[in-house]
Amino acid sequence: MGRIQLKKVTKSFGEVEVIPPLDLTIEDGEFTVFVGPSGCGKSTLLRLIAGLEDITSGHIEIDGTDATNVPPAKRGLAMVFQSYALYPHMSVRKNIAFPLRMAKLDQAEIERRVNGAAEVLNLTDYLDRRPGQLSGGQRQRVAIGRAIVREPAAFLFDEPLSNLDAALRVGMRLEISELHKRLETTMIYVTHDQVEAMTMADKIVVLRAGNIEQVGSPLDLYHSPRNTFVAGFIGSPKMNLVEGPEAQKRDAHTMGVRPEHITVSDSDGLWSGVVGVAEHLGSDTFFHIHETGLADTITVRVDGEVSFKHGDRIHLTPREDVIHRFDGKGLRLA
């Protein structure tokens, strides 16, 4: 079980309030991702849940019991750190066994669980090595192993993949998702990478300056962002946000059009512009269009290869049914 509730939680460092009063419920078994730009308070929020930072006011409940003043060791949560934070003087086996040793489990049980975790994570051949002799991906797996042996109420991940190279990151992303499917344990995952958030989460919490901007499933956030911040943050490439006459025509202060919702033609369309940089990914192409009179750059995503050249004048038409409209405060209009 691992249902975590934050009630009116705040955190200040001296005079600076980094988390204004915040309410959030994370359901048992849910994979929740905290996402936001750096400095948005997502790691602080995770550390408050972990107990590594004291909250300034409010309450944290884990499975219905008040954990606000419970030390991290007693909260029943396991954490995977960005730097892995392995114990460099211990072998992989001892690293994974450490939480069990602290829990005073008997030797046979420790052995059984360590071997079990090592098997799941493909670490069996490395059990007697030191962390220094492992690659980044292996270290990450040891850190995860150390977390899963305890069978915690919830896992906390603090940007666990940001030290890995791109290929490994994708692989580990899948492994963590697989692990969640198998264990069905609550996971809270902090990242600044919206692709990680979109691909892994059951629920995404978008944070800005300690405030929750929106909570919802990845597709909720994609289809109906509550404000321009979420609209710009979720989705890759970013949503085009346009102000001015074109937005006013649609009764909005700002209108948002995703790059994949614009059709391109060399002969006719609603808007026109000049092709700037084109990014060819093979499966699709991103064009950055200038001189549209709408915004500095309008990004367009086109399936496959399209042969527009730098400097070509082309025509754009947005799909009217999926245009997002926002008011002067940046809030979504129904």
Binding site: L52, P71, A78, F81, S83, A85, H89, M102, R146
Partner: protein, 276 residues
């Protein structure tokens, strides 16, 4: 990047380094040489450098006249005891300063270190009186405590520097893994800081071994360590340089040998954290 250095320049550097090294080592060398001379040769003018009649007579006399082993044992107890006691107190102190710093941590560290700038004789009188009242005069326990206090700022400072090199996340990981504060210090912090703790131990042992002011002033017979052993050969006997040298050589030999074998560890320890 390595700079190109000419052979001549290298030779010059080597010569200068050796000259300075020998200059520093010369008093010790001279003491050792003198200890093998007769009393007459020891005060000969001009001094005889090598071509004297080598004799072990002085060592025999010193050995006969005083109980070297007792002084040695006192030195070991006092230096060892104060070092161990100091480490036990300094590890938690340095932990809190390195990992739970407050606004005043830096000030406290500097203040602790500044106590080392006070001339020891300034507090001799109060400490002497305290020792009389507490019945600690001429006791090894008393000296262990005093020398521990004298060196504590250095131990705390050194350990603090080492601990600062240990990433805080590792200790947080231990906390998340269910380790109590005691377990965190015992199983994670201390093993990771072993090289640092070892060189701190070593340096502190040497400092305590060589300490002469307090050991001479607070002991008479029972707790007298090797410093007192040397001193006992200076005044009352007149100027018997050869015997004094023999006693000095015997007193410094153990620490010289210890220092020689551990010099790598010591140098590493003293420059640790300075180049990061």
């Amino acid at each position: 990047m390595a700079r190109a250095v000419s052979t001549q320049r290298k030779a010059l550097n080597t010569t200068v380094a050796w000259t300075i090294g020998l200059l520093i080592f010369f008093p010790i060398l001279w003491t050792i040489l003198t200890s093998f001379k007769t009393e007459a040769q020891a005060i000969a003018s001009p001094p005889i450098f090598i071509g004297f009649d080598w004799t072990l007579e002085n060592y025999a006399v010193v050995q006969e006249r005083s109980n070297y082993m007792r002084f040695l044992w006192n030195s070991v107890i006092i230096a060892g005891g104060s070092t161990i006691l100091g480490i036990i107190i300094a590890v938690p102190a340095a932990w809190s300063m390195a990992f739970v710093p407050s606004k005043r941590t830096k000030d406290i560290l500097l203040w602790m270190l500044s106590t080392k700038m006070l001339p020891a004789v300034g507090v001799l009188y109060p400490i002497y009186l305290l020792f009389i009242q507490m019945g600690l005069l001429d006791s090894r326990a008393g000296l262990v405590v005093v020398l521990m206090l004298i060196n504590l700022p250095i131990i705390v400072w050194m350990l603090y520097t080492y601990f600062r090199e240990i990433p805080g996340e590792i200790l947080e990981a231990a906390r998340m893994d269910g380790a109590s504060l005691r377990e965190e210090l015992l199983y994670i912090l201390t093993p990771m800081a072993v090289p640092g703790i070892a060189s701190t131990l070593l340096l502190n042992f040497i400092l305590a071994w060589n300490e002469a002011f307090w050991t001479l002033n607070l002991t008479a017979v029972d707790a007298a360590p090797l410093t007192a052993f040397i001193a006992s050969y200076s005044s009352p006997e007149g100027l018997f340089f050869a015997k004094l040298s023999a006693a000095s050589t015997m007193a410094i030999a153990p620490i010289l040998i210890l220092g020689w074998f551990s010099q790598k560890q010591l140098v590493r320890g003293l420059t640790f954290g300075a180049v990061k």
